[in-house]
Symmetry: C2
């Protein structure tokens, strides 16, 4: 296997302050994220293959290819799940080149090839169900959306294996789309953004500028207010209310909004058009100052799977789709490359460890589509979904997650996220060792260095406030900017940088305009948000009727018996006696004379680890006992 390329390697991104590293240059080693990646490799990817067979995704391709008889099965976007799975397998092949998954992938690619029309068009739903109506429902038909996922899979497979078969399918389809859409051709853009960032990446992979121009065309076409919304929503559902460059609020379907912003930021990274970055910045501020949960979850509303208005952040009825968390990670990564500001990496980290990872069960084969911060019971992970966007999206995120760890520029290397891994760059190669998120220490060993001066930049996460850096055992004086510590010197092999990020459990409160956090606190330690799960509490303690004593210490317990290796946290609190309420919901103030309660111990686990046992209650925000 030869690596022709990797997450963008050959292509220099002109308006990125820092360049991403090829995925084969960052290899996870034993640790938290490697465990997740291994689970994905061992269990999830094969599970997904079975599911894609069981739910008809592969069969749709067989029928479209003429290999089988029958009718199309499922919703109109089922092809995209095959593509996301192919992308996930592709990146998995980088650390696991001789994996048996490769055969499964090659068979799938053969099917995809066989289903493609001579024109280059490829979408089994439209080929089988609406053969005479290609592009007839851009608002809701998901044709360009599926194409985008095909492109991303093809790029990944090419980068991982050097094979060009899937890339050729992708470029044939991209050429067909380019011949179909554009000025003086058919107008319009896809109701579900995705193709924009895929086309920019296809341009990066192939050097074909038409793809970049086509991405720009689809972005420019947006915001004419013509798309049919959904339910109570109008054009804002599709981010079509205002032109992209005029948008200041993040609105509508969350995954759509964030995929679009990923594409918009990608376009900025290539063209440097300031209006694009300015709009993205406004929307980022709008999101982070009013529309994001403490878990990084976004999309407050079931209705339209969409963003709400500022401070509308319900714990129970939020949507916080796993795909939206992934989309937020993708967008924040691009904003980080564009700006070099750690706040984007902070949002990535908060999302990765909480609202993203909660989507995956400990067994690797059950998933949450929706990630609430409060369950009164009844939320159960499923092995798959009729709309199965999330499971393979989790898989491709895990197999490509190492891309987010580090970047390089002409003068150095930047570390954004800390996981045990090895990193190779032209100036510097590194080995990272850490027990994050359980311990806040990171040991960085220089394994190779040029004899040139080189700046190593380390992100200082927002969750710590007394970070210290030691170089070869001595406290280092560093310059900091945008929450990065910069260590400039001529490095040599075996230099050791130790990063100490003190990590203690903290109580977090929410902005007073958020209803769902009122008089409550959440427990956080390092990047991990914690939660109470019913099954962990003593008998008779109903977590829906407890308070936390915010003045008592939070006790961290390492190596709990539960869920291999996680740290749990104990707190003191109270169980409320609500018997005075009988069956009433509302009473005149003062009718309930005294609040009767008894002391109890509260046991917290990391939020991402909830929902691995039964369908019991769970909550993140706990009322304060002093109020």
């Amino acid at each position: 296997m030869s690596f022709v390329s990797s997450v963008p390697q050959l292509h220099h991104i002109p308006y990125a302050l820092w360049q991403p590293l090829p995925l084969d240059r960052v290899r996870l080693e034993a640790g938290f994220w490697k465990n997740k990646q291994d689970l994905n490799h061992r269990i999830s990817l094969e599970h997904a293959h079975r599911m894609l067979e069981q739910w008809g995704n592969f069969q749709n391709f067989r029928i479209a290819a003429g290999y089988a008889q029958g009718s199309y099965q499922g919703r109109e976007f089922l092809d995209s799940d095959v593509y996301k799975w192919l992308e996930a397998v592709a990146y998995d092949l980088i650390p696991n080149p001789s994996s048996s998954l490769r055969q499964l992938a090659e068979a799938a690619i053969d099917l995809v090839a066989a289903a493609q029309e001579p024109s280059g068009y490829l979408n089994t739903y439209h080929q089988l169900v609406k053969p005479d109506a290609h592009w007839s429902d851009l608002d809701h038909g998901h044709e360009l959306y599926c194409a985008g996922h095909l492109f991303q899979a093809a790029i990944a497979y090419h980068r991982a294996t050097g094979e060009t078969k899937l890339l050729a399918i992708a470029t044939r389809f991209a050429d067909h789309i380019d011949a179909t859409f554009g000025p003086n051709k058919r107008s319009g853009t896809c109701g579900h953004p995705e193709i924009e960032m895929a086309l920019v990446e296809l341009y990066r992979e192939t050097g074909e500028e038409r793809y970049l121009k086509l991405a720009q065309y689809f972005i420019d076409e947006r915001g004419k207010g013509k798309m049919r919304g959904l339910g109570w929503y109008g054009a804002e559902y599709h981010q079509d209310r205002v032109p992209v460059r005029q948008a200041t609020e993040i609105e509508g379907h969350a995954v759509r909004a964030l995929y679009l912003l990923s594409g918009v930021t990608d376009l900025y990274l290539e063209t440097g058009e300031e209006a694009l970055l300015k709009s993205a910045m406004s929307q980022w501020h709008d999101m982070t100052s009013g529309k994001i949960h403490i878990t990084g979850g976004v999309g407050s509303r079931y209705e339209g799977e969409s963003f709400g208005v500022a401070y509308e952040l319900p714990n129970d009825q939020c949507y916080c789709e796993t795909c939206a968390a992934i989309a937020s990670i993708m967008w924040n990564w691009r904003m980080l490359l564009a700006t070099g500001e750690a706040r984007f990496a902070d949002v990535m980290e908060q999302t990765l460890y909480n609202g993203f990872l909660s989507g995956l069960a400990a067994d690797g084969q059950h998933f949450f589509y929706i990630n609430p911060l409060l369950s009164r019971g009844g939320y159960i992970r499923a092995e798959w979904y009729p709309v199965a966007c999330c499971p393979p999206n989790i898989m491709r995120t895990l197999t490509s997650i190492a891309q987010y760890i580090a970047t390089r520029d002409s003068s150095g290397v930047q570390l954004h996220h800390y996981a045990s891994c090895t990193i190779q760059t032209p100036l510097l190669s590194l080995r990272l060792e850490t027990d994050l998120p359980w311990q806040g220490k990171v040991k960085i060993t220089v394994t190779a260095a040029s004899d040139m001066p080189c700046t190593l930049s380390l992100r200082i996460p927002v969750w710590t406030d007394k970070a210290q850096i030691f170089v070869n055992g001595e406290l280092a004086t560093v310059s900091t900017a945008n929450e990065y510590a910069h260590l400039g010197r001529t490095w040599k092999s075996d230099d050791v940088i130790e990063l100490d990020l003190p990590m203690y459990p903290r109580l977090i409160e929410g902005h007073p305009m958020i209803e769902s956090t009122r008089c409550s606190v959440a427990v956080q330690r390092g990047p991990l948000v914690y939660c109470l799960e019913q099954q962990d509490q003593a008998p008779g303690v109903d977590i829906l009727g407890v308070e936390i004593d915010e003045n008592s210490p939070l006790i961290v317990e390492q190596n709990s018996h539960r869920l291999e290796g996680i740290s749990t946290i104990r707190a003191s609190g109270y169980a409320l006696d609500t018997s005075g309420w009988a069956s009433d919901l509302y009473k005149p103030l003062g009718t309930i004379e005294s609040r009767s309660r008894r002391s109890v111990e509260l046991k917290f686990i990391p939020y991402y680890a909830w929902g691995n046992h039964d369908a019991g209650a769970m909550r993140v925000w706990i009322p304060r006992s002093s109020l």
Copy 2:
């Protein structure tokens, strides 16, 4: 015009403790509800006629009748809006027999007649769009639902005018349905309950027992777990998860659940089958102890327009559909008849004055479909909706609202709701005068009496605790049971009963397991829940960032300049300075050192009156300043 019948007159309901009065025997006089009824008569009913023309409802009938060319317009249940409007107009004709609305109604009835198939079948959507597929989608097709609304309209028109044309259409269709469905015939029941209560009423109106049996059949068919749900919902969406008699939880689509329970309770009232009442009671307890807002609004979730789980009562993302409030009123009325317990009338009253009435704008021609308890801005009343179930449902409720005031039995008369009106019964005729909901006094004058002993029973509303009753100026000693005061004597003309229901503004708190009311209070006076609306506050006071001083007095101001005649309430509170939060949503506890705030005056208006000006913010639950 002769009154052949009225809300059930000829028919004695065997298992009702109390019998309803014909609508022509209770006539509203100048006062709160008469104002609403007059607005409905003057504005809403004609507005609806224009909308039914504009949105194609009438045109669908014309096309089905062969009077016009074209294709069906709108969703599959548009016929039902015509029927609800006809029912509303019918009851409006009782106090307004020479209204020009009658001509509009007769023209509509002629259209309906012309559209009916020779078989008796009548549903313009299925006739025009799926002519060969009658009854092919009972789960979502709404055919029996529309039939039920036709029957209710026909009964109303017959009762109000004595005309039988619409009733004949209804019975012809009912006979067709009866010939189609049942044991040894086609099986199944409608995904949207409605026909059950309509068939029971059609039985009451015509004496035809087949209709009662058919209602029972449709109720018995429910709960086989076979219906396709919607979105994230399975069969529980349609109340099809468990058989009706085994249901203990109220679940799924709120209007469906409550229409079904109305039909189930109606069936109990005719058959006396205890299992039906027992199940209804369990579901009532489930609803009122965990799933109803302080406004009487029900249906916590946008998703599926449905009930949530216990204590899931969000202020902003609740659905609280106007139709669900109406359905709750209908069901609680039937439970009151079945049990004689005032708690059902209490729920009716709480709903009528708040979560129902909020659906209607002060101008009579704009409506809320959804009735949140918190708006951060953006909720706007519409003149009509693509799914327009609510507006004509409001109209039929207002024109028939007098039916809920009083009942009779062999020994007396019972008053459940207090509005200025005249009441005629065989034993006793009364005149009620009251300024409710602004003042808590009711004057009841006997205008005719038989020379028999007769018990006058007066409901003591749950919102007062020092009720007094005077008879001819002297404090009366009364026996009370189930929150009714019973006054037994031989009444004579000009006897005066004065009911004093002390009414002072109160702060209400919510059950500690409700998240959205945490550390907050609502203001209530009498049956009215109050709210803050942004436009009423002093400049610079953002109602989304205020607290109420729960120890300061609440000042009632009568005859406000706003919205003709309403009482407003002033309270002391604080406006929070949230500048310390900058653009952060979450901070470690203690980071915001002190809560900076300034004293402000808070001006409350009745909840039902909100949303009559702009799309500004509104909230019912206000954080307490001492917490």
